[in-house]
Amino acid sequence: MCNVCGCGQGTVEGHSHDDSHHHHHHHGEHRDIHYGTGAAGVAVPGMSQDRLIELEADILSKNDAFAAANRTRLAATGTLALNLVSSPGSGKTSLLVRTIERLGAHPVAVIEGDQQTTNDADRIRATGAPAVQVNTGKGCHLDGQMVGHALDHLPLEQGTVLFIENVGNLVCPAGFDLGEDCKVAILSVTEGEDKPLKYPDMFTASRLALLNKTDLAPHCDVDLDLYEANLRRVNPEIEVQRVSARTGEGLDAWITWLNARLAAKQAEDTAA
């Protein structure tokens, strides 16, 4: 059961357990993808004979296989894929809009994950960048298969930066690889310094944390150094940048970081 959004709370309706449920969706006006309706299970007949099957199989192995396929596909175009994870409302879409403006002519593509609405993809498209909205229905995270399907509808030129805005949720997305190069966690200063300690997995899995809404820091008694110290306590290797999507403060360092990742990615792909 999801502890954050409570999805799956005893209801199986609209939360399909059939493997084929990912194909039961429709494409909206902008090729947006909506999940949430499912088909009944499939029974497989077999022969009877008691035995033990030793598996040692990772429970998320199916997701990992989809993620690996995405990774191969993204490497073919030298695409840098970033999985943006955060709680709802930390400022992911606002930061993306600003970032896309700053990247200018550089090729960018966006996958927007939300349970409902196409608001975020609409905001991205207003910048001129291609975006696909994935509505997860009751699902509280994107998975590898959803992202693979979204990739079918995105133009990826050589050296594209692909931003995947995950569903706002500090718990579930941590466990689901999408085929990204790395996760970037976005926190807003108003959420409280203890969030990294309360939801450590997400920050352990992230390479960079963007501490957003620094313009609000003077109004909300937040200790930004403590915030950073708590991030490093759960992940000694995490990089931290302070930014404000509103004022643009700190965005230069973020763009520099992006360009460095992109250069590293391209060096890696030509070497491979």
Partner: protein, 113 residues
């Protein structure tokens, strides 16, 4: 972690195995769950019963085995076992630990007919 989605993963693996290994029923399933996997066992057990309905594993007995938490200490560079995500290093008392194990979520084995 999302226990419902985990159970869907388990169900998918069982269905693939049922086809490949030709069985129709799972009697008992053993999982290995790392201490830091973020899995709530009661929630997983509840979701398991719901999600397995109509599958080969409907009514199967579920057993969950714990795997310890492990981390590398940045101070003494040892790989240590820890019970708590924020525990200090048991060797040197250092506070900078990077988890290296304990996030496992695996199907160990299953008894089928």
């Amino acid at each position: 972690m999302h226990e419902m989605a985990l159970c869907e993963g388990i169900r998918g693996i069982i269905q693939d195995q049922a086809r490949a290994q030709n069985f129709s029923r799972v009697r008992r399933l053993r999982l290995e769950i790392g201490r830091f996997a973020g899995v709530q066992k009661e929630a997983l057990a509840f979701a398991f019963d719901v999600v397995m309905r109509g599958s080969e594993a409907e009514g199967a007995e579920l057993e969950m085995l714990d795997l310890p938490g492990r981390a590398v200490c940045y101070d003494c560079e040892a790989e240590v076992e820890i019970d708590d995500r924020f525990a200090p290093c048991p060797r040197c008392g250092g506070g900078k630990l990077m988890p290296t194990g304990g996030s496992e979520m695996r199907i160990l084995d299953m008894e089928v007919t």
